[in-house]
């Protein structure tokens, strides 16, 4: 396995200069800013993002915290997709649809590391993804320690947190806590080892924390509040970042100066990868016969 943080051309702290995006952003607003800039300049003509679900009511109403992939082609669609719900949004399912009924030629996509792996596999082995390989224009990855099924989020917020889903303003996972902020400003912190069991099992075999295969990957780890740590990884990522910087889209700080810095990101990545490697090995002894390891084909 390559270095836990993968190959990258550049890494820095960044925050968007666009106040409107920053207000509702999870951290530095990097993803929304990049995508809306790319939309305006035509680098992409649409992006697959995770937005609050509109199509599937649950318990009779549309819960904004339940995410679902949409193909965003306007700025305000992007703005509606800013909050992270930490639950599964199957973004890769829309990349072919984007080139079909949405008629896009340059598709942007945001995804957690496993989804980025899905996109890269779709590009290299487009077994069912006709026309997709050449139409992926920008791939943005976000850091991910784990994702929860939607019912787990409901159970954590309502049972462990004792708060109604409707009253939640923001959800954040960091510094060992699952933090829920309600509209009236009350914050509830649930220790992560309490929510460990409720994580999606598929995440426990993932060996990638910082979206090593993305063009640009970003996340809050290692950067001060309100900022994001951004990796520029590929040629495309480099070009898009340079143009965005020339357009004055981001203010940045070099990595060295600010605590806690790259070390924190590396620590989290190593922690995740070693823990998941151990789960992969345990799967061989779950019964007297091992369960399949996806990374080795028989």
């Amino acid at each position: 396995m390559a270095a836990p943080l993968g190959q990258y051309k550049m890494v820095l702290f960044a925050r968007t200069t666009d106040k409107e995006i920053l207000r509702g952003a999870q951290n530095g607003g990097i993803v929304t800013a990049l995508l809306s800039y790319a939309l305006d300049t035509g680098i992409i003509d649409g992006a697959v993002v995770a937005a609050p679900s509109r199509s599937k009511p649950w318990r009779g109403k549309f819960d904004p915290w339940r995410s679902e992939p949409i193909v965003a082609m306007t700025r305000d669609q992007l703005l509606s997709a800013r909050k992270t719900g930490y639950n599964i949004s199957p973004n890769v399912m829309m990349i072919k649809e984007a080139t079909r009924s949405y008629g896009l030629d340059r598709v942007g996509i945001v995804g957690v590391p496993c989804q980025i792996q899905g996109v890269r596999k779709a590009q290299l082995y487009p077994i069912g993804m006709r026309g997709v390989p050449d139409k992926i224009a920008l791939v943005i990855g976000i850091y991910c320690m784990e994702v929860f099924p939607y019912q787990s989020i409901v159970q954590i917020v309502e049972d462990h947190g004792g708060v109604k889903m409707e009253s939640v303003e923001k959800i954040e996972i960091g510094k060992g806590n699952f933090t829920v902020v309600t509209e009236r400003g009350r914050t509830i912190q649930i220790p992560l080892n309490e929510t460990r069991d409720l994580e999606q099992p598929g995440c426990h075999v993932c060996l990638d924390y910082a979206a090593t295969l993305a063009d640009i990957s970003t996340g809050s780890a290692g950067s001060p509040a309100g900022w994001s740590t951004v990796f520029i990884r590929t040629k495309i990522g480099d070009e898009v970042w340079k143009r965005a910087m020339q357009a004055g889209l981001f203010e940045t700080k070099p990595i060295g100066q600010v605590e806690p810095g790259l070390g924190a990101v590396e620590k989290l990545a190593v922690e995740k990868i070693t823990r998941n490697k151990k789960t992969l090995e345990d799967r061989d002894f779950i019964g007297t016969k091992g369960l399949r390891n996806p990374y080795i084909t028989t």
């Binding site: 973004n91 890769v92 649809e97 019912q151 996806p294």
Partner: protein
């Protein structure tokens, strides 16, 4: 680019959709035929009666075991070709031919169709109905590099083709459908709801319910695209980490 390899398209019980898909590379196909491969056998494309010796046989369609000629054809294809590629769902996993029950005029007793890997050893699988033009193009280019490329090109091609060759030897892949996706990924706790299967399904049978694939199994046509497109059916880090280099080589070859 040293001398070209010889490629043949063997048409068994299929709808010629795979051949059309190969042709959908448009200028890419012309480029392959100019620089990399000579088409030495192909229904209506090459005036040759008997299957000649060839490097790569792109076999499309499943084999009717009641039809003596097609069983002989597939055996000769195996003997005459170095690399046999099962192109498309019919050849790889039986696809819609799994539902054949015979009863069609003038040969009503032709009722049993098997994917070609049930009868011969197949080297490479390209699942999917129809297989995407890009997938066939990639396999053709990589086959060329494998046979005629320099040492590191050979290594790269071998690395790229390794999972597709593993699919060909994997008995599960020759029976792949939405059930396989459930049995091999979801039920063994590997599904992370990325949506690749829903994206890959040619008949849009898979919807993502609560982040997990839900298949309308009556729509499923047994093409196996969902199982093979899933990053948790096969995923080689040493290939995927160099995805940029590989895409550059393929695009370069197509220039």
């Amino acid at each position: 680019m040293a001398n070209k390899i010889t490629v043949g398209h063997v048409h068994m019980s299929g709808c010629t959709g795979c051949l059309v898909s190969l042709a959908d590379n448009y200028l890419g196909l012309i480029k392959i035929l100019d620089d990399y491969a000579d088409l030495v056998y192909g229904l209506t494309l090459a005036d040759v009666r008997h299957i000649p010796e060839m490097d790569v046989a792109l076999v499309e369609g499943s084999v009717c075991i009641q039809d003596h000629e097609s069983v002989e054809d597939i055996k000769t294809a195996r003997k005459k070709a170095k690399i046999v590629v099962a192109v498309g769902g019919c050849a790889a996993s039986g696809n819609i031919n799994r539902f054949d029950r015979g009863g069609q005029h003038n040969q009503p007793q032709h009722e049993s169709y098997v994917p070609i890997s049930d009868l011969i050893d197949v080297d490479v699988f390209i699942p999917g109905c129809a297989p995407t033009p890009q997938m066939i193009r990639n396999v053709c280019v990589m086959a060329y590099l494998l046979l005629r490329g320099s040492d590191d090109q050979k290594a790269l091609a071998a690395k790229y083709l390794k999972p597709l060759m593993a699919l060909a030897k994997n008995p599960i892949a020759s029976k792949a459908n939405f059930n396989t996706l459930m049995q091999e990924v979801i039920n063994v706790g590997l599904c992370m709801g990325c949506g690749s299967c829903a994206g890959a399904c040619p008949v849009r049978a898979i919807s993502m319910e609560f982040g997990k694939p839900q298949g309308a199994r009556d729509l499923c046509i047994n093409c196996g695209a969902c199982y093979s497109q899933c990053p948790r059916s096969f995923f080689h880090f040493e290939v995927m980490d160099e995805y940029e280099a590989i895409t550059d080589i393929i695009n370069g070859a197509m220039k």
